[in-house]
Every structure is written in structure tokens, then in C-alpha cells.
């Protein structure tokens, strides 16, 4: 588990590693969704501001939008999830990041995010 993981109220997480920021869905979000059958991720090099919708995740029951916990430019997407969305259910959530971004405004954008342990207490 990344020690510096921060979470949004819409259940996205972000952590920093080697100067990049990894964004994904919390274990709570994944357990609430159930079987994930479809993931739509953004184009590489597209930029989003904090709070913008950058993708969609679909369980058997419903489609949900995914929001940027912080703003930034998409450097890489987790390609394997496009073909195998079920990996989100089958693997530790912190390994199954959705996008990797560069985030020049991390300090400012991350002010309202909560540490994972605090977030976890609040949702459970």
C-alpha cells in the first residue's frame, strides 16, 4: 500500500511515485460496484482539471463516471484494464491504477483530499 495515498469523496485515490501521480479507485468503490465489466480511459496527453470526468467504469448493474482527484496531464493509461476489466476485482486495488499523470498543481489540488486511513474510517 502506497503510504502517501490520498482519497477523494468520490472514491478515487492518488499517490505519487517517481514524480508521477497514479489515480485509481478505492477498494471501497470496487466492492460497492461489484463485478466490473467495462472500463473507458482517456487519451494519452489529454489534460483534465480537478473534478473533471476522465473515464467511465461499468459494473454489471450500472455505469459510473470517474473524476480527477487532482488536475494534470495523462502520461499513461493502464492498458490491460481495457481488455480485462475484471483485473480490478481480482487484484489489490492500489496495483490497479487507471491512469498515470503529471500534476503541476498537486499541492493546491490535493488540499481537500483525505489520507487513506481517514477516508477508510469515514466510508465504513
Amino acid at each position: 500500500m502506497a503510504e502517501n495515498m490520498l482519497c477523494s469523496s468520490s472514491h478515487e485515490y492518488v499517490y505519487e511515485k517517481d514524480g508521477y501521480y497514479y489515480i485509481g479507485l478505492t477498494d471501497y468503490a470496487i466492492s460497492q460496484l461489484g463485478d466490473i465489466v467495462f472500463v473507458e480511459l482517456p487519451e494519452i496527453n489529454s489534460t483534465y482539471t480537478k473534478g473533471e470526468i476522465f473515464g467511465t467504469i461499468e459494473s454489471v448493474k450500472a455505469a459510473s463516471e470517474i473524476y480527477m482527484p487532482i488536475g494534470g496531464k495523462v502520461e499513461e493509461i493502464n492498458e490491460q484494464l481495457i481488455e480485462k476489466p475484471e483485473l480490478l476485482n481480482e487484484n489489490p486495488f492500489e496495483d490497479m491504477w487507471l491512469i498515470k499523470i503529471s500534476a503541476p498543481h498537486f499541492e493546491e489540488d490535493s488540499k481537500d483530499l483525505k489520507e487513506y486511513s481517514v477516508y477508510k474510517e469515514e466510508v465504513e
Binding site: G34, V60, A62
Partner: protein
Amino acid sequence: MARTYLYNNHIKLGAKMVDFAGWEMPVQYTSILEEHNNVRKNAGLFDVSHMGEIFVTGADALNFLQNLVPQNVEKLIDKKALYCQFTNENGGIVDDLLIYKLKENDYLLIVNASRLETDHNWLLKNKKAYNVNIENKSDIYSMVALQGPKASQILSEIGIPINEQPKTFYITEAKLLNEDVYISRTGYTGEDGFEIIIRNEKISELWETILEKGKPYNIMPIGLGARDTLRLEAAMSLYGNELNENTSPVEANLSWTIDKDKTQNYIGKDIIMSQLKNGTDKRLIAFKMLDRGIARHEYGIFYNNEEIGKVTSGCIAPFIGQNIGLGYIKTDKNLKVNDTIQIKIRDKMYNAMITTKDFITKHNKGN
């Protein structure tokens, strides 16, 4: 919210509970996909106690029912089930239901939970001078559905030998756990299977017995999530999605449930007969996605950039491994099976193909 007499059983099994038509029901126990596939491969047990049981008896019971449905109830032989709809003055569907003929002028009606109160009122409103007793016994009875290719073997394990089991679309009155029960060979999954009606007080014991005896057959409890994907994969309509008061059986692709030669009048007959003759402005179609995308309720259906209808149900069809759906389209384009249409998903167009309504062929025929 109301709870069925199996609520504690669901909690014990770790079910995720949701609100369905005012009932607190299990949506899944483990995984919708796993539950779905287990019903196709082995067997599953569903709590359907929220559904309504209405008994119609009396000297005019047959004539009373004949006035309410486009099917010909007169043709129904003892112990046989008939799938039909209550239609309103405009030919719209008040509810879809099963009518079982228990014996002469003695019928059991199984109706949707979401429509029970409306249905009961509909029956009372149309009772008029008919000499009938209308008894809503939904508060007395609970119901489970045992579905899947292993269902018949499991039923024999709990005391109903194969040769005493009802045939497909028949009902039998039997003794189970020293209790009088109704067992019908019906369901909402596209599989062989049974629905068992028993008094509330005995349902928990029945549930546990079936799960216990079904263990060697890999039975699983199944939630409403998989109930929905199973019925959609079997291309069956759901009241509230495909069927409503503004949609007729002709539009809903249920013309096979209309007896064209029925001489008796029934509510909405003029409109329904005229629709059969002259056609309708909209009709229900089945489709499968060609592009990668999942159609959902209320998404637009397009043809040549024109919106021609709406999706009523859509999902991943777990067993056949395709994304499928049902929806209504305008008939003026004369679209047919194998024609390509588009589904608008989050502002983008995705290709889909109109198909016949046989996503799964019934691979396990009952008896």
C-alpha cells in the same frame, strides 16, 4: 421497507441488500457474474416471496378473467399455466402475469411485486357483477424459484421424485416438509426449473433444505442482480422496463400471447385487434452491440443520425459473452434483423445489430 420471511437467511449468507419495489431484497451474495453462470451450468435458488399470489374463484371466475386478458383462458386445461397481460382500455399493459388453472373456476394468479396493489385494485374495479372471490394471499405465502439444469435432480432430492414433478408450464399441488405446497415448472431465467409456493412459516426451512440437498449439485443462492441478467439474456421482458401502461402487447412483441380467434370481449380488445391488423408506430427489438460498449436503460437508439427509439434494458450477457439489449424503435424505417443501428453511449455512437430474441437457445429442455 418490507422484508420477506427469508431476510435473516439472506443476511446470514452475506447478501448485499437493496430496495426493490419497496422490498429489502438480496441483489447479490457473491458476484452477479458467478451467480448468473451457475444458474446456466448448475442450479440457483431465488427468493421471489415479494411476488403476489392472488386467487380467483367462483362461478364466474373464467368469464371474469376472460374479460381481463388477450389470451384465451377458456383453452387452459387443469394445472396448466398461461402467460398473459392485464390490458387497459388503450391496450396498454397493467401488468404481466401467470394464470394457473387449479381446477374449474379456480385460478391462481402470480403477479409482479411492483404491481401487486395496482393489480388487486384492477381486479376489484373490474369485478362488477361477476360472481367471483378475489383473494390476495400474498401476505400468507412465500415463494422460491429453483432454476437451472440441475433443478429437477435437486427437487427429487428434497422429496418430489422426477415422475411426480410437473411438466413444463404445469403446476402441481404436493406435500413438501409435511406442508401443502404449489410447485410449478416455470421461471424467469430461460432454464428448466420450478417455483415453489409455501406458507411463510415454512419458507426458511424449505430454503435451507434446498441449499443443503443441492450442495452436491453446486447450487448457489441467486440475487436480483443475476435474476435481471438471466431474464435479459433469455430476452424476457420486465414490467417497468419493456412493459408499461402505455405499451401494448402487440408493440411489446407479445402477439403470440394474443388469441386472435377469441370471441369474448376483453378490455382493450378493439385497439389490440386493430394494431394486429394495421401495425403499430413502435415495436420492441432485441440487439447486440457490435462495438465495445454497454447499452443501458434510456439510452437513445439511432439510425442514420436520427433518434428512432430508446433502450429499455441492456447489459453484458455473461453466459454468451456479448453485450445485449432490448429497446423500442419506430417502425417507419422498416428495420429488420441483421440491420445495423447505433446506441448513443455518453455522447458517442456505438454500432449494434438487430437480432432475433434468442440470445440463448434453451439448452436444457425440461423433461
